[in-house]
C-alpha cells in the first residue's frame, strides 16, 4: 500500500494545482472527461480486472446512473445534489445486480451475454419510455444546477472541483476495498474459482457484490458525465461504443490496477487530442473528422494488440517497471538490481518448534 501512495499523491497534487494553469477548454474537454472516464474505468476494473467477470455493459450502468440521478433530483424537491448522485449510483447498482444474477449459472465467457443484454435493453428502455426524460419532446434534457452546500459549482472550475472531489473520494474507498478481505475474495474468484469455493468464499455473493460495487461506480461516473461534463442527460452517447471504450481504458491502463484505470483514461482522452494536433501540425488539416476516427481506430487496435503481446498488464506495469529503472539509476542503494534467487529455506528445528508452540497458544 505504501508503494502506491506516492504516485497517487503526486496525481492529487497535480490535480489540485491544475486550476492555476488550466483554462476552460482544458477543464471542459480534457480534465473533466478524464476523471469521469477514470471513474468508469475503475468501476469496470473492479468487475473485470479484479473479479474476473467480463462486462460490456459499463455504459449502460452509466446511463442508468445519469437518468436515475436526474429523476431523483427532479421529482424529490430539496434533495441535496450529492444525495442524488448516491441514489443514481445505487439505482445503477440494483440494475447491475439484476444483470449479474445469471452468473449463478453461467460461467466465464458466456456471461458476456448478460452485460450485452443490459447494454441494449437499457438503451432501448431509456429512449422508449418518455417518463425517464420527463416527457421532454426533444428528448434532450438539461442537467440540473450544481449546488452543493449552498455553493454553485456550475462554472468549469466548479464542475472540475466537484468531479475531482467525487472521484478522489470514491477512488480512496475503492483502494481500501480492494486491499481488504473483500478485494482478495474478488481476486480469488477471478484466479481460481474452485479453490476459492473450497476455502469457503461465497462465490455467488462475491460475484454479485462485484457487480453491485462496479455498477455503483459506473453509475456515479454516468452522473458526472451527464451533469458535469456534457450538461445534458441523454442515452445516445452511452452506447456500446462507450462500453468498449471503457474496456479499452482498462486493457491499456492495466487490468486489476487502480492506477491503471487512470492511466488508461488519460490515454484515451489525450490520444485524439494528440492525433488532432499531429494532423493539423504535420498533415496540415488533411484529416477530417471521419479520417480522424479511422486513424484512432487503427491506433487503438494496434496498441491493444501491442500491449496484449508485449505487456499484458498494461501501462500500469510499464510505468512501474520504468520508474523502478529510473529509481535504480538514481538511488542504487535503495533498489538493488536483481533480487537474490529464492532458494529452499530452512527454519531451524528450534525456531520451528517455537513457532508451533506460539501458534498453539494463540
Amino acid at each position: 500500500m505504501s508503494r502506491r501512495i506516492p504516485p497517487a499523491l503526486a496525481l492529487l497534487l497535480l490535480a489540485l494545482a491544475a486550476p492555476l494553469v488550466a483554462d476552460d477548454y482544458w477543464f471542459n474537454a480534457i480534465l473533466i472527461p478524464f476523471f469521469t472516464l477514470a471513474l468508469a474505468g475503475l468501476g469496470l476494473n473492479i468487475l473485470t480486472g479484479f473479479a474476473g467477470q467480463l462486462s460490456l455493459g459499463s455504459a449502460a450502468f452509466m446511463a442508468v446512473g445519469a437518468f436515475a440521478a436526474y429523476n431523483f433530483n427532479l421529482r424529490i424537491p430539496e434533495l441535496p445534489l450529492l444525495a442524488s448522485f448516491a441514489l443514481g449510483g445505487l439505482t445503477a447498482s440494483l440494475v447491475g445486480i439484476a444483470f449479474g444474477l445469471p452468473s449463478l449459472r453461467i460461467k466465464g465467457f458466456y456471461l458476456i451475454v448478460s452485460t450485452l443484454a443490459a447494454q441494449f435493453f437499457v438503451q432501448w428502455a431509456l429512449t422508449k419510455f418518455a417518463w425517464f426524460s420527463n416527457d421532454n419532446p426533444s428528448g434532450v434534457i438539461t442537467a440540473p444546477r450544481l449546488i452543493v452546500f449552498g455553493h454553485d459549482f456550475s462554472t468549469p472550475v466548479g464542475r472540475y472541483w466537484l468531479t475531482l472531489g467525487v472521484v478522489a473520494g470514491l477512488t480512496l474507498a475503492a483502494s481500501s476495498l480492494l486491499a481488504s478481505p473483500t478485494g482478495r475474495r474478488f481476486m480469488a474468484v477471478r484466479d481460481m474459482e474452485t479453490a476459492a469455493r473450497v476455502m469457503g468464499v461465497p462465490i455467488f455473493r462475491t460475484k454479485l457484490l462485484a457487480f453491485a460495487v462496479s455498477s455503483f461506480y459506473c453509475g456515479v461516473a454516468g452522473v458526472l458525465w451527464a451533469f458535469c461534463y456534457l450538461g445534458t442527460v441523454e442515452p445516445h452517447g452511452l452506447d456500446l461504443t462507450r462500453s468498449f471504450q471503457v474496456l479499452f481504458i482498462i486493457i491499456i491502463g492495466g487490468l486489476g490496477s487502480v492506477a491503471g484505470s487512470f492511466l488508461g483514461a488519460a490515454f484515451i482522452v489525450l490520444l485524439p487530442v494528440l492525433l488532432d494536433h499531429v494532423a493539423h501540425g504535420v498533415l496540415e488539416g488533411s484529416l477530417d473528422a471521419g479520417n480522424l476516427e479511422n486513424a484512432q481506430k487503427l491506433v487503438f487496435g494496434s496498441l491493444i494488440l501491442l500491449f496484449l503481446i508485449k505487456e499484458p498488464e498494461g501501462l500500469a506495469r510499464l510505468l512501474t517497471v520504468a520508474s523502478r529503472a529510473v529509481a535504480q539509476r538514481l538511488l542504487p542503494r535503495n533498489f538493488p538490481r536483481a533480487s537474490a534467487p529464492i532458494t529452499v529455506l530452512t527454519a531451524t528445528t528450534e525456531a520451528r518448534r517455537d513457532l508451533f508452540r506460539k501458534w498453539r497458544q494463540s
Partner: protein, 293 residues
C-alpha cells in the same frame, strides 16, 4: 394465419443469415479456442472490398476471386502476425486481441474504401414469390440456398479431406495432434482463411440485403446469441440456433413489440440467450465439460 407464416418464414430465413456469420465463429473456436470478435469486421471488409472493386468498373467475375484471395491472405496474416504471439494465453486475452483486430480491420477498411454506404447487387431481386398463398422473398430463399451449399461444402471438407481431418484432430486435442506431426500453425492458418471465406459469403449476402455500411460489423453481435444457444462448438447447433433466434426475434417484434412500442429486436435475442443459458448452461448442443481438479 398467413401473416404469421410470412413473419415466421421471414424470420427463419433471417436466422439462416445469422447462422452463416456464426459458423465463421464456430470454425475458429473449434480449432483454436479463440472467440474471434473480428469476424464482423472481416464480414465488413470483404463486402467493402468487393463492392469497391465493382464500383471501379471491375467485372464481378474478376472482383470475386480477387476478394476471395484477399480474404484468404487476411486470414493467414492474422494467424501469423498476431495469434502466433499469443499462444497459450488466457481466453480473455485472446478475445481482447480479436477486439483489437476488429478495430484495426474496421479502421483500415474505412480508411481504404471510405465510409459511405454502398449498394451491392447480386443479381437476385428482393421480390416476393408466392408459395401456397404465402409470400416469401426470393432473395431470402437464395440466401438460404447459398448457406446450405456452404454448410455442405464445409462438412465435405471436414469429413473427406485431409485438412478437414487434421482440423478435427486439432479441435479435439491439440497436443495429441501435435504429437502426430500435424502442424498447428498451418491448420490454424487454414481455419482463419476458411473463416475469411465464410465472412465473404456472409458479407456479400448481408451487404446485398442491407447495403454495405459500417453497421455490418455489428452483425457479429447478433451472432453471439446464436452461438450461445447453439453451444459454440457445433455447426448443426449453430444452424438450429440461428433459426430459433431469427424466427423468435421477428415474431417477438411483431406480436410482443407492438405492445411495447417496438424496437425490441435489439435486445430480445440476448434475453432469449440468457434464458437458455440459465436452463442449459452449455447451450443446446454444447458439451458439458467435466472440470478435473
Amino acid at each position: 394465419m398467413q401473416f404469421f407464416f410470412e413473419v415466421l418464414i421471414g424470420g427463419l430465413l433471417a436466422g439462416v443469415m445469422y447462422s452463416m456469420v456464426a459458423i465463421g465463429f464456430v470454425l475458429i473456436f473449434k480449432a483454436s479456442g479463440v472467440f474471434n470478435f473480428a469476424q464482423g469486421a472481416m464480414v465488413l471488409f470483404s463486402a467493402l472490398t468487393y463492392v469497391s472493386l465493382v464500383e471501379r468498373d471491375l467485372s464481378p467475375w474478376l472482383a470475386l476471386p480477387i476478394t476471395l484471395a484477399t480474404m484468404l491472405l487476411l486470414g493467414v496474416l492474422i494467424e501469423r502476425v498476431v495469434l502466433r504471439r499469443l499462444v497459450n494465453r488466457s481466453p480473455m486475452t485472446l478475445f481482447m486481441a480479436t477486439l483489437g483486430l476488429s478495430f484495426i480491420i474496421e479502421g483500415a477498411s474505412q480508411a481504404l474504401w471510405g465510409a459511405q454506404v454502398h449498394g451491392l447487387e447480386l443479381g437476385v431481386p428482393d421480390l416476393p414469390i408466392e408459395i401456397s398463398g404465402v409470400f416469401i422473398s426470393q432473395f431470402d430463399l437464395f440466401a438460404a440456398a447459398t448457406a446450405a451449399v456452404m454448410v455442405a461444402a464445409l462438412s465435405l471438407v471436414a469429413n473427406r479431406t485431409r485438412l478437414g481431418i487434421a482440423l478435427r484432430a486439432v479441435a479435439d486435442d491439440p497436443l495429441a495432434a501435435l504429437s502426430l506431426g500435424i502442424s498447428l500453425p498451418r491448420v490454424w492458418g487454414a481455419v482463419w482463411a476458411i473463416a475469411g471465406v465464410v465472412a465473404l459469403v456472409a458479407g456479400l449476402l448481408w451487404g446485398a440485403r442491407t447495403g454495405v455500411q459500417f453497421s455490418l460489423s455489428l452483425v457479429v453481435l447478433k451472432a453471439l446469441p446464436v452461438l450461445i444457444i447453439g453451444g459454440f462448438t457445433s455447426i448443426n447447433g449453430t444452424i438450429v440456433a440461428g433459426l430459433i433466434v431469427g424466427a423468435s426475434e421477428k415474431l417477438a417484434e411483431v406480436y410482443v413489440g407492438s405492445l411495447m412500442g417496438g424496437g425490441i429486436e435489439g435486445w430480445f435475442p440476448y434475453v432469449l440467450a440468457l434464458g437458455f443459458l440459465v436452463v442449459r448452461p452449455t447451450g443446446l448442443f454444447g458439451e458439458a465439460s467435466v472440470e478435473r481438479v
